[in-house]
Amino acid sequence: MIARFRFSNQKHDAAVLILGFALANAAAAAGLSEVKQTVFGMDCAPCAHGVEKGLSKIDGVKDVSVSLNDGYALVRLEPDNAVTLEQIRLVIRENGFTPKDAAVVVSGTLTRADDQLVLVSGANTSRQFSLVASPDAQSAWRQLQALPQSAMVEIEARAGESDTTRLSVLTVKRP
């Protein structure tokens, strides 16, 4: 009996460890996964080259593509990255161009604070986004509001030109 009990305890400990590892990884994996940053002022190939090169140097960036005609830099990020929207916009400014709105894909833990929805993103809980409804995406907002506290979500949202911590929710990709 003692042997079986010990074995059961070991299985229980292993299960706890596995769950804890999964949760930790889930938290670590949360964060920005894609940023499509609108850029004004890029007119030619060296402009795009400079932005592409500068963004590629950010630790955690998987790949970058730049469009001159549509005026954006599309940044895809590695899992477990610590990249922020501020970093991306700083690179664009340092190349002499003007960052405007950005469309982001971000995941994290949904929480509520003072009747506000907040997405806690990344292993570092200080990275938080306050979420607001987008006028043309009310169904996504209702879907988000219906989720329980501490739900892990992945959303597509818009960050305004001067906003890096306030997102207008467009779609809920994964509850």
Binding site: T38, V39, F40, G41, M42, D43, C44, A45, P46, A48, H49, G50, G54, V66, S67, L68, N69, D70, G71, R93, E94, N95, G96, F97, T98
Partner: protein, 293 residues
């Protein structure tokens, strides 16, 4: 029009220049391709960015044709402030006894000067995708590497230029002007140079495809220059001042971090002062290879 023997020699020398510059670029030696070949332009490098422009400019007068090679290294101190160093790489062809007083491209210095400049983009606005309106000022100090330029001892100089412009995916324009002042050297002094420049560019629709497709623009450039009299041994040199107005086309091709620019200016009007010993210009041609690091 048949190409005469002088034309064939010029073609040979230009081809040799292209080969030299290609070799220099490939060897890692560090090559103004963001704008017009001759006129002032506003763009500055991004913060921490480097660029290399390697150029050859030929000037032909009634005497003969001379070629000047120059290298320009640019560094972006920040996105609106750029440091520039231009140095002479040599010259070929016969020396022009009465060499036209000009700059080898308004942003690349004169003749055989070593020139250090700061380009400050003091006004910038991006009103839409692919569109920018901006103004810049350039200040330079230069030191000659030769004792005399034509018949005059040449001293250090300062240069100041200002330019405003517009850039978009379809058209560009820049308007600017500048002034270069030479200091006295042993009772000789080169006369001051004043200039106005204008450039208009069009990117044909076929080259408005997105990055990283090749990007070509066609320019029309204009340059008006006024040179004051040189002073030799404290006396004015009557055969050294004049006014010129030149116009011509250029092209700029960009592919990723590479650029190539080529242009030619023809004098529309020349008013050379003096006793008729100055030779009128026939043309100025320039080729620039650029690389952005």
């Amino acid at each position: 029009m048949a190409i005469d023997s002088l034309g064939f020699r010029m073609i040979d020398r230009l081809m040799a220049s292209i080969a030299v510059m290609a070799a220099l670029t490939a060897s890692g030696v560090r090559a103004e391709g963001h704008g017009p070949a001759f006129a002032l332009a506003t763009p500055t490098l991004g913060k921490g960015q480097w660029s290399s422009d390697t150029s050859v400019m030929s000037m032909a007068t009634g005497e003969t044709t001379a070629y000047t090679f120059r290298e320009m290294i640019g560094y972006g101190i920040h996105e609106d402030l750029q440091a520039i160093l231009t140095v002479p790489l040599g010259s070929s062809g016969q020396s022009l006894l009465h060499a036209p007083r000009t700059r080898a491209g308004t942003m690349m210095g004169s003749g055989r000067d070593v020139e250090a400049s700061l380009l400050w983009r003091f006004d910038r606005e991006a009103p839409a995708i692919g569109t920018r309106r901006e103004s810049s000022i350039i200040f330079s100090v230069a030191a000659p590497t030769e004792e005399r330029r034509a018949r005059t001892r040449v001293g250090t100089s300062t240069h100041l230029g200002v330019v405003t412009g517009f850039a978009s995916r379809e058209t560009y324009w820049w308007l600017g002007g500048g002034y270069q002042h030479y200091f006295e050297e042993d009772r000789d002094r080169l006369g001051d140079l004043y200039y106005l420049s204008a450039a208009f560019a069009w990117r044909p629709p076929v080259f408005q495809q997105d990055y990283p497709k090749p990007d070509w623009r066609i320019f029309v450039e204009a340059l008006a220059e006024h040179t004051e009299k040189n002073t030799i041994e404290g006396e004015d040199d009557p055969d050294s001042s004049g006014d010129k107005f030149l116009v011509g086309p250029s092209v700029l091709g960009l592919f990723g971090p590479w650029g190539v620019s080529a242009g030619i200016l023809f004098p529309v009007a020349q008013d050379l002062k003096g006793d008729g010993n100055l030779f009128e210009e026939r043309y100025r041609a320039k080729l620039v290879l650029t690389y952005w690091f």
